[in-house]
Amino acid sequence: MLGRVEKKYGVVVVGGGPAGMGAALGARDCGEEKVLILDREPEAGGILLQCIHSGFGMHYFREELTGPEYAERFLQKVIDHDIDVLPGSYVSGVAVDSGGSKKVRIMSESHGLITVETKSVVLAMGCRERTRGAVRIPGTRPSGILTAGLAQKFVNLKGYLPGKRIAILGSGDIGLIMARRLTLEGCRVEGVFELMPYSNGLTRNVVQCLEDFDIPLHLSTTVAYVHGRDRIEKITVAPVNPDLKPDMSRAWDVPCDTLLISVGLIPENELTQNLGIGLDVVTGGPLVSSTLETSMPGMFACGNVLHVHDLVDYVTREAMLAGRFAGEWSKGVRRPKDNIRLVPGDNVRYCVPHTLSPEREHTIHLRCKAAMKPCKIRVGSLMEKKLRFVFPAEMIMFKIKPDLLDKFHGDTLRIDILPLEKGERVD
């Protein structure tokens, strides 16, 4: 029920975005009756609420929904399943006692400072955007420099424009979506400037948000300097050398009153870190087993807090799984520990989960370091899968069957992405 909170739960989910709602439903599905979702925003739904463009749910619902529609459908399911939801609640800490029971400390305007007890916790806090500070652009510090997501919030939730003449640093998906959105609102988008030689967003967004609107995408180019006293007036952009440093001899100025920053997302793991849970330095999210359990027993993670996903449908699927295992855990089921470690090899930036068990089938998520086409994924000596191309901006997913893992006798399984050998072809 919306706004209800009791003293004891089986599963408490931190974060009420698609991951949190999916996890709560997963926990209910496996029979856990006492589930609570906490979210610091005044409404559950997470970042979806400000994504009013369509493109959500194609995999999960087989329909093209807007972000709020996707969130709405899940929230309805959550309510129908009698899951408690407490919006406007901020989790300031979790204490774990020796018996493994967890006390979640909550700050909420409606309830004050309260603590709820639970057996398992699902971390689903999502991610935040990297800022100007993180990419370090020299120059002045006027107003008008903001992350693409904040601009999206101003436009879609509050009805204000961040400015009229827009430049965008980075080709992350939110930046691309905002290029289109602001163009439709009558703003002039001067261009998207991307440091890397490839776009950081999905190909479909490059096509639908830039190419269809004649917005130039400048690859291997960066913002080298910000000008303007009170408000940003222009930027100097420059192509970068192979060491990614700007080549100022080829720089040019772009007048603008707004600079959107869309240079990547970082999982929000302050809470996780405070709990002493082990993190993967590459994903920025926790290290998890094949049940999506973190290094702290009974504490699970899913969605963008675990690793940044491309599509909400994938988040939902992962979250349902995490929720199921969290529900099981709270009901006393203890599965055998995973005995296979999964490690990234050639051209693999990361893979999640970090360990596997021959007990079940697994979906492996990974990202490559560099684009490659055509190529193959090799999992130890167990399997190979040929792909037409891989691309850092697009997550790669594949399944490993338990019978394959049964044949594996080592303890470390390495995944590589390799070029095809002579005579090999993608069919």
């Binding site: 400072l113 935040r128 800022t131 370090r136 020299p138 107003s143 204000y160 009229k164 006293r229």
Partner: protein
Amino acid sequence: MYDIAVIGGGVIGCAIAREMSRYRLGIVVVEKYEEVGFGTTKTNSGIIHAGHHSPPDTLKGKLVVRGNKLYDRLCKDLNFGFSRIGELVVARSESEIPELERLKKQGEAKGVPGLEIWDRERLRNAEPNLSNTLIAALHAPSAGVINPYELANALSENAVDNGVDLKVNCAVEKIVVEKGFLAVHTSTETIKARFVINCAGVYADKIAGMAGLSDFTIHPRKGEEYMLDKRLKGLVQRLIFPIPEKNTKGILIIPTFDGTIMVGPTAQDTTDRDDASTTYEGSEQVFGFVSKICPSITERDTITEFAGLRAVSNTNDFIIGPTRIKGFINAAGIQSPGLTCAPAIALYVRDILKSEGLVLEKKKNFKPHLPGPPRFASLNDEQQRRLVEKDRLFAKVVCRCELVTEAEIHSAVDHGARTLDGIKFRSRAGMGRCQGGFCAPRCMDILSKRLDKPFQEITKRGGDSWVVKKMMDS
């Protein structure tokens, strides 16, 4: 007619106004920005220097030790963040040791307490994260750190509590010498005062020029500073200084009052008096240098950077005193360690005013105290519960990175915040990792409601620093 008009609401102007508000005088502070402290005062290293650095034959050298000592009292009165964390000047080779000894002697002669030379082992035990190539250090326990904007806000608020008028968004444009008083023409009104104190920072020579004085010039010298992620909190416990160079004290590692580590500043002469830009060269210089002293610091840890201008005068010293124009007094050329000297400068100016004929009569009802802002995140569980019982808005989180609650934002507005930066400097909301991405719209909502101003009129720091435009506007 005012007795005193203070031009410039930086830390110097505010310190003077607050000091003079002890007396039965009519005082006004005139500041061109939207809030006080938005000049050099908010963009410095925040160090309360021990005093061994400045030569004893300069005015800054004379005022610095006294200024440092005055901070205990000032902090007790006004409750801004201040902590004597101590300072280490580190030597990287045998050839630098005589310089440590010279600084020690210079400091001792000026009355700097507790100076001590530490050997390698003692240094390593105290600061294990510094490079192990360092061989010795001069320890100055009385050096400290403050949040300079908090100081300026506290001084001005307390001055206002004691009857001082504060005029913001009010730029001085002309000064006319009249019979027995000065007429200060500003962008909004004309102010008459018997005494004018020129505390206009990098613009002080321009202000003097308005009164017809041209006996000094100001040459801004820029300093870039880089704030690092709070993950590095605790990396060093004390201020870390290299052996000083000719024009500057060098590039420092500064554990700020809140524990976050800052590195800088550079020292670059500039002709632009509003130049607050950071540069590639600056960051390379800062991180190139700092990594030699503390190898675990890299530029990747930067969460934000800024630059401030030192108001260096042509004498390279403070210029404080009366002028040939009766009633016009300079407090100019206040470069580093100006922040440290501020309370001492206030007393120095008080004495000048007295000898210039101003009658000082103490107020009976002077209120020296100002409660500090509430800081929910730094309280223990019990204290937090009590606050929440009193006001539920203490349980409503506005800034997630620094855990700032809505009640604290309201308090910031109660205490004078008018802009997003004003809220940030008073409450820390927006100072953390996400740099306001999460809290900016919330703070704007609160400002809009509290100031009864449309959302789109809320600015980052006044002037033309608008944040959003209304959708319908064209």
